[in-house]
Amino acid sequence: MKPFGNGEFSEHKIINHLGFIQENLMPAIRLFSFFFILLLFVSLPRLAAAQEPYVYQHAKKTVVLDENLGEYSLGLYAEYLEDKEKRWTIDDMTSQEISEKFVQSEKETLNFGYTDSAYWVRVTVETGNQEPGTGNWLLEVRYPLLDHLELWVLLDGKWMLKETGDRMPFSYRDVRYHNFVFRIQTAPNWKQTLYLRVKTKGAMEIPLTLWSPVRFAEKVNIKQYASGIYYGLMWAMFFYNLFIFLSVRDTSYLFYVLYIISYILFQLSLSGEGYEYLWGNSPWWFNRTIPFFIVLTGFWVAQFSKSFLRAEKHSPRLDKALSVFMAGNVLLMGLSLTPEYALSLKLAVVWIIFEMAVVLITGAVCLKEEYRAARYFMVAWFTFLSGTIIYALKSFGVLPANFFTSYIMQIGSAMLVILLSLSLADRINTERKEKLCTQKELLKAQKEILITQEEAAEILEKEVADRTGELRASLEQVEYANRHILESIRYAEKIQSSMLPSKVRMNQCFNEYFIIEESKHIVGGDIYLFEVFDDGYLIAVIDCTGHGVPGALMTMLAGSAFKRIVKSSDYNNPARILKSMNIAVKTSLYPDEKVAVSDDGMDAGICFINTKTRTVTFAGARIPLIYVSDNMLCLIKGDRQSIGYKDADVDFDFTNHRIPILSDISFYLSTDGITDQTGGPRHFPFGNRRFQALLKAIWKKPFDEQKERIMKAHIKWKKKEEQRDDITVLGFGF
């Protein structure tokens, strides 16, 4: 290539220490400052982007290239021309008429906003004659979103064209870099005017820098390093929070990582790096990435805010508003994929600004509601906004341009991501603490319940022990009293039995006999008596009212009355004995009839056995005599008159019955104890019929066996029933 010709020149030194860092981050910075300015209702949207840190004031027309300096910002050297009709060619440019229409740029960066026109830019460049001057220079257009660029260079009298732009696949580029870079060959004493034609649907911004290859390499080296740090951090946050999400399954984390990835993609699109590294063969897609990823980021920011702030709980209206913004984001995403993507970008920027306002208001409302998680959320977003403000202030020249102020947008977005991650962790921590606290309280309450229960159990146990002690004490008392009473009753039994006839004497008199005496208690109201006389002997069975001790007392009365009476001459007359006993008992029990408190008496059956005449004389007071002879059972009912009761008639004459003693005959005297005993299948009394049938069956048997049979029958009948009365059965034969 030969040097370009034509144009005017003047010498100037351009010193720009920070430019090499800044300019490569310009696209992102511009966009954010644009948001901020709109937020502040500043009506000059692109003003901030026009500011460059170092301005060379003595701008004339020509750039004199110096390899040692190696970097020239061309904004103030350039002249430009608007081509509204878009029909001029390079040949028109050199004509006198059009050539004079070029306007001298007065800004560091050429910027014409959104326009349908094409723009022509011309810059005159020369190499000094003192320099070797031969070599390549690089013309960089630091705005990667331009649609179509044409660089015209006069070579050997012919205009040569180099074309580029984001409408062309990345592989077509002259220099493979995400900004547009043209190679320009120079020679000593070379002077040339370069023409650049730009046409774009987006912002018409044309920041131009001319580099020596060495300086360009240095710039790219540093820029890549800084980018590496930034993207490295963002990717680290993405993966870190993704893993947290996978482990804690909190959807806020999911929305957050989706927000990060969307933002990373947006940043890559904005810087042109996405085009360089990711979708270089798809110009169609590249042109849509910026609006698409802006609204995608907005979508996830809204979703994250809703979820993280629990907006539905704290402010249902703002929650709805955020949902509306999300719906808008989806529509704009759709729009960005149509040919109207340029419009979608403009709408997206405005939409996002209002969305951010609503997000911040929601955060503030939650903060007012004293929702702790909202604090970190607000700190994060204010850090980001502060960064934007600082950048804007630097752009306006209020703050000095340095590394911090230049990178503040990147720092701000990184801080935002980090602080949001912290706030998520804090929220989880807080919720866990609250849960722990609740659990602790629950545990405490359970413990208290347990303690109360234990106390209650203790009290109960003590009470039971006390009561048991009391019971034991009273039981001991009862046992003591019982033992005492039993002892006295046993002694009473001794006294009572002393009245009974001796078995020896009865054995002497009867050939055979048996006595069944089954008291209900130790002592009872039944008694049998036996007296021997010269001509025979008396036998009596007496059933006094009651049983136990009261009955026993009555038997003593009956016994002593009987013994006294039989000493008289009436001993062989049972009827007279009964009458005498009636009188005796009544007079001993109720000496004064008017104050009598009890009404007691007895039934009795008495037999006098005359051994001389071999007859039995029987008289009964409600006690019968049964005798069986020759398989005939006879029952002699006693008189229906008891002895000793208050209403007993003292003048009543009992009846004597005489029975001759045959060779085969058995006599039975019995109280009602055995016949009255309930039992059997239907709990009826044993009954007279059953008793008589039994006697009829056994009367011939030995008397010992008879006794056994009667007892067996009684026990079999009674089974588990309580014994109802004292039982006395007397059987005798000759």
Binding site: D543, G546, D676, T678, R682, P685, G687, N688, R724, D725
Partner: protein, 131 residues
């Protein structure tokens, strides 16, 4: 006047004296340790009842006692005597003495009461085994 209802126990019978329908019932067994404690209220009620009812009031007394001791027997006699006195005054009192054919002791006692109480309508009624 209030009805008298005493539930049956092991030692004492069921007492159900209904002053509205004029049916007086005693059923079960009777051998209390202290006879007066149980029967005093019963006799008191009968006393008051007999004084309250009109001269020609019909009264049915149903007695079905499986077993009773000699003390209870004396009390029953007292009770029947009171009823007999009322019957003599003109009140239409009838005693139904129920006994099971298997229970000859009950029949015997009933018979003895009937013989004693010449002026009191006293019917011995045999009951069939209830399933």
């Amino acid at each position: 006047m209030d009805n008298l209802i005493i539930e049956e126990t092991k030692y004492t019978p069921l007492v159900r004296f209904d002053s509205d329908s004029h049916v007086l019932e005693i059923r079960g067994e009777s051998y209390p340790e202290n006879i007066f404690e149980f029967y005093d209220p019963v006799l008191d009620w009968i006393n008051a009842y007999l004084e309250e009812i009109s001269e020609n009031q019909s009264v049915i007394v149903n007695i079905e006692l499986i077993y009773f001791n000699s003390n209870s027997s004396k009390i029953l006699m007292t009770l029947f005597s009171m009823l007999q006195d009322a019957a003599i005054q003109g009140k239409k009192i009838v005693i139904h003495w129920y006994y099971d054919e298997e229970n000859d002791i009950s029949l015997e006692h009933g018979g003895e009461f009937r013989e004693e109480l010449k002026s009191l309508p006293f019917h011995l009624i045999q009951v069939q085994e209830r399933s």
